[in-house]
Symmetry: C2
Subunit: 353 residues, 2 copies
């Protein structure tokens, strides 16, 4: 074995309990509400008086939700944690504890698991979340990660999908479509690599959209901003599928219609250029792409003054009576029905599953 090749360690070499001990070393509990983390039959949490607990859960499966050919393991761990933090944020809450289950086939080494765990631990550090439970099991094929996150929010601030009212403003944080364009670039380079393994991937100039795909963030900063400005959104959801699909979820849960102005949808220049390069309409990547993990929320018109100068919030439309339907107004002022293509469907087509 050449000197520059790291020696990889077989998973079985540590034994089941040794492996868990190895992976969960150096984990420190920072929240007072965490009474017991790893090492018993269950984690124990003592919620603060007046707080409600928010619980979110996700299952990520190799070949369905991620492709290890271009997803570095550390990023995968980070992203697995963050997408669940994002669900808590979408309830106007803050993530506090995480429990992770990993199923892994024998093709993975301890060093590979270390990478995944280091990504999860990094996310815990950035978002100040306690890692309170982790277990690892064998899997017959590939990798799967099951994450449960516990968060909290003041009882009177928990925001559901269902509270939107006609005339509420429909707002979105950050910009959209980047994560999907990042995925397209990665898949293009994967195909080029498969055709010619000597070829170097062409990733330069795509930093922003690649980071959007490989290292998304949960918009906890928006939750804090809303609190500072004394805004409680009437409804909120995070954008894991496309904007269209999530807007339809909000409208259906709130029993409203909506109008979205296509030219108000915030799109970064890098996303725009990349979409053009791929021959796509940029706004379609925002409407039907996914994994941006921005927040889509509605606020009372009376709160407009509080956010109008925030560069990170864009008003893209408003809620209407349910009988008005869910509409997209194009730049040439046609009003068409909002359609959820959904990122899941697109992705599954890409992966052929």
């Amino acid at each position: 074995m050449p000197d520059d090749q790291p020696q990889l360690t077989d998973l079985a070499s540590l034994g089941e309990f040794g492996l868990i001990e190895h992976l969960t070393r150096n984990i420190h509990i920072q929240h007072k509400s965490t009474k017991k983390g790893i090492g018993d039959d269950a984690a124990v949490i003592q919620p603060k008086t007046g707080k409600q607990l928010l619980i979110s859960k996700d299952l990520l499966i190799e070949g369905v939700h991620f492709d290890l050919m271009y997803m570095p393991l550390k990023h995968l761990g980070y992203k697995a944690a963050v997408v669940n933090f994002s669900d808590i944020v979408a309830m106007n809450g803050v993530a506090k504890q995480i429990i992770v289950g990993i199923g892994v086939s024998s093709k993975f080494s301890i060093e590979a698991l270390d990478e995944i765990y280091s990504g999860i631990k990094k996310a815990c550090e950035v978002y100040q979340v306690d890692f309170v439970g982790g277990d690892t099991s064998s899997s017959l094929s590939g990798l799967l990660i099951s994450v449960t996150v516990v968060g909290e929010a003041d009882k009177d601030k928990v925001t559901y999908r269902s509270g939107g009212k006609p005339n509420d403003l429909l707002c979105v944080s950050g910009d959209l479509g980047g994560a999907y364009m990042g995925l397209l670039v990665l898949e293009r380079e994967k195909k080029a690599f498969q055709a010619n393994p000597d070829m170097q991937p062409e990733l330069t100039g795509n930093d922003y959209i690649l980071e959007r795909q490989l290292k998304p963030e949960a918009r906890e900063d928006i939750v804090r901003m809303l609190e500072e400005k004394s805004i409680i959104p009437s409804s909120m959801i995070d954008i894991s599928d496309g904007l269209a699909s999530e807007a339809i979820h909000l409208c259906k849960s709130s029993n409203t219609g909506c109008v979205i102005f296509e030219d108000k949808i915030p799109i970064d220049q890098g996303t725009y250029d990349s979409a053009k390069e791929f021959g796509l309409v940029p706004s379609i990547t925002a409407l039907n792409g996914g994994e941006d993990y921005e927040l889509l929320f509605t606020i009372d018109q009376g709160d407009y003054k509080k956010i109008e100068n925030d560069p990170d919030i864009t008003v893209i439309g408003y809620m209407t009576e349910p009988s008005d339907g869910m509409r997209l107004v194009t730049p040439d002022e046609r009003s068409i029905e909002l359609q959820a293509q959904g990122w899941d469907a697109m992705r599954k087509r890409e992966l052929g599953v």
Copy 2:
């Protein structure tokens, strides 16, 4: 297709959201503490004042944790829920909410998923647990079930593995070894069937051990009994691996040694007979078998009078100073070191993984 063959429905036919809606229909929330169940970004729980929350999580993977050749899907759903309830019970708590993620390959029909969900719903009914979140994802190979359970316990009654003290009595609920013997019978009949598919399985007379394997229960009744008798165990764990492995966990966490009297280990007659038939020492199935989901706990000697006539509790030994080690006293009064063979290891050997 013959008339008596039920028509099976392709998973894709309902679409992602239609499928979730189909599977989670008829779910009713019964606990006041459940503020929001299925249908938002996260479940919302309002814990009662003075209660601590207990969170347990498990990942069950086809071919590793279960074999669909002899595990009926409804039983699998029931068991997936119950083994997590058991983790909550092992903290001296009561399960209140469950969230389930299922990964499923296209070989499964909607009717198959219905069966799994009906088992989970049945467990929720029996244990009065609210089903607050469920999602289904495709998997490239086989079935996997990821379960998160939230429970609660009075702050001063939460029981850890770590509170055992020298001279505390070591107690076990119910009887042990049955689930492992049930597994051996099922695997014997599977092999016979594979050798000759016309053969009828020989399962008669094995009802008790088969039920122990296929339909285990969480001993919530023991938690209630302890409360009625004002006993707070000093330490507790549920027996998912063998008794030996779990006793070692308690001792290590509590920093004690222990003495277990082999002839005190409670073994049902059916388990005993079946072990003999397989040429096994019955107590070994209890010490090294697994999945009995009974409780192993320690109590102060002063509480002995309260449990001495309880037919469901057996005192099998006591805790000692750590320097005395963890010992098993055989019927011929030899004292040998307690060894954790562990059911996981046995099972993995059986399955060849």
